[in-house]
Amino acid sequence: MKRRKPSNLIYGVDDPVPFPTCFLLGLQHSFQVTTALIFGLIVVQGMGGSQGEAGFFISMSLLAGGIGTLLQALNKKGVGSGYFMPSVCEPAYISASLMAAKLGGLPLVLGMTALSGIFEMAISRIVHRLRKVFTPEVMGLVVAMVGITVIPVAVRNFLGITDLSPAINPHVLMVSIITLGTMVSITVWSKGKLRLYSVIIGMVTGYVISYFTGLLPAAHIQQIFGKPLLALPDITLLRWSFDSSMLLPFAIASLCVSVKTIGNLTTCQKINDADWKRPNMASIRNGLLADGLGMSLSGLIGGMGQSTSTSNIGLSLGTGATSRKIAFTTGGILIALAFFPRFAEIFIVMPQPVMGAAPLFAVCFIIFTGFQIMMSRMLDPRKIFILGVSLIFGLSVAALPQIYAGIENHWLHPVVTSPLYISTLLAILLTLIFQIGLTKRSRQLLETGKTTYEQLQDLLEQHGALWGARREVVSRAVSALNELMEMLAAEELTKEPVQLDMSFDEFNLDLVLQYTGKPIDLTGTYVKPQSLERTISGMQLSLCMIRKDADRIDSAEKDGRQRIVLHFDH
């Protein structure tokens, strides 16, 4: 795939990076990835498992993140998009993982995580058919709801609330405010590269103050140093189990993750190609497959559900380095960290204020990134209802959980207790319903050999403007249609008028031409001339040029009437 590197990138996706720079950038990204371990910790906390299970879960999440990062960068044999997109603990899996943890402990979390990767891999096979459903609005809503779902856990920790002590703890709240304040201050007011480390600096500050104020007991510090520096993970903890009642929540979670990953892959395509026009579905398909594979692998080796990190993509854009070489370094560092139990233990003893401040900081960005994606296109009444209804019912789960408490159906219950899952399902359902009446159509008759480029241009541009079609797509359609009309005349395939049926919806522009006459030959291939003396096939040259502009050309014959379809992705 040929692409032109944008001028704001120092190291583009295909560029080599000198090793010292590559290592430092990889280290920086690895720091960023470790901040998402907080989502793994939330699951561990909800699970109430042993210290050993917690350490194992965190180490294996790091290992899975490393492998996932490598798989995504691969782009070999249909696996991986070839972009640098680190894998992290995915917050969209928190709800499903917590449900599984309460029902069947760590083995059920792992078993269902492995299974949900298969869902995502299945979605990757049909993603090109789901473009109508996975709109930017739905993607934005999912991203925002991923953030909103984390709020209850993050706020409880921020305020120092526990099951045993349901009142706000002023002591914890004070440390939480200092921790969050440090992260926010560095992000807002610092200059240079310090901003890139705001979360890590804030977390370290939170740990230090917690230590001096007694929120991080000395016993926890001893616990860190009690762990070996280097050791193989304790695979005796590795067990899997499955429960049919967990299928739906994990399937919806993987649907949410797929939607989010498509958004991330599209962002990567955009930031790495100065001439980017529309999503490359082959790259999205391969990327989703790698993401699903990473997810299943994570469940199989004992980690939390993993997916591509939006914040790391932002970091690579901010540093101007998106080279896949950095992916291999980052992946390597993450895999290595999994074999340092002392490192994982630092996260396991995380004091409550840090467990509140760090996700709260991340959630601010996640929610408003989602809103930005939602608002990136003009919102017409259809989109407003899709987003509005989905958002309202999603938020109602968080605000008025008692409404849904009576729903005891073991399939429905997990769905209606997660704002993310109910919003995603509603948004997809409403998007499908609102497809009704979306396709616009028009029919024209074109005179063979007499219709000029200008006439075709006027016709398509007028309809394109009326339907809201993108200028670039209309321009390609004009070129392809003109070439086809010229070919019909030059090759004397018909002398009769050609019936042109145009149809347009948000994702497709189709031109269907019907005429009585001879067929076009789509089976041949155009052979480039090596010298002036070589004869070239007029029809194959025309078809070669049509294929340059159209995303697909099909032909069929019925009762001597020819039907040619020029399809353009929109």
Partner: protein, 110 residues
């Protein structure tokens, strides 16, 4: 489509602008034929202002080039942009013709 000519010491510069399709391509072919008949042998075709070219345009270029070769003439191109540059590339024309970025560079070829 408009065609303007400019006589340089070593070659005749033909600047083609607008669109070269089934309607306008014969006009290009006819102009080149007439110039060949007048004794011109070295042509620099400047396509920097050409917005669109169809396969009919390509075929007329090929026909003109063959005619010129019979007269031991030379045909060089310059200034291809966007759509036209892409068409020359996918059709393989960039492999059988000499193409320069600018008119000045093209003139050095004669």
């Amino acid at each position: 489509m408009t065609i303007s000519t400019k006589k340089e010491p070593n070659a005749l510069v033909l600047t083609v602008s607008g669109r070269m399709d089934a309607v306008t391509a014969p006009e290009f072919e006819k102009s080149v034929s007439e110039l060949i008949a007048q004794g011109e042998k070295n042509f620099l075709i400047d396509l920097s202002a050409l917005e669109y070219i169809s396969s009919a345009g390509l075929r007329s270029i090929l026909a003109s080039a063959k005619r010129l070769k019979e007269q031991n003439g030379k045909l060089v191109f310059s200034g291809l942009q966007g759509h036209v540059k892409e068409v020359f590339s996918i059709s393989g024309f960039h492999g059988i013709f000499k193409i320069h970025d600018t008119e000045a560079e093209g003139l050095k070829d004669f």
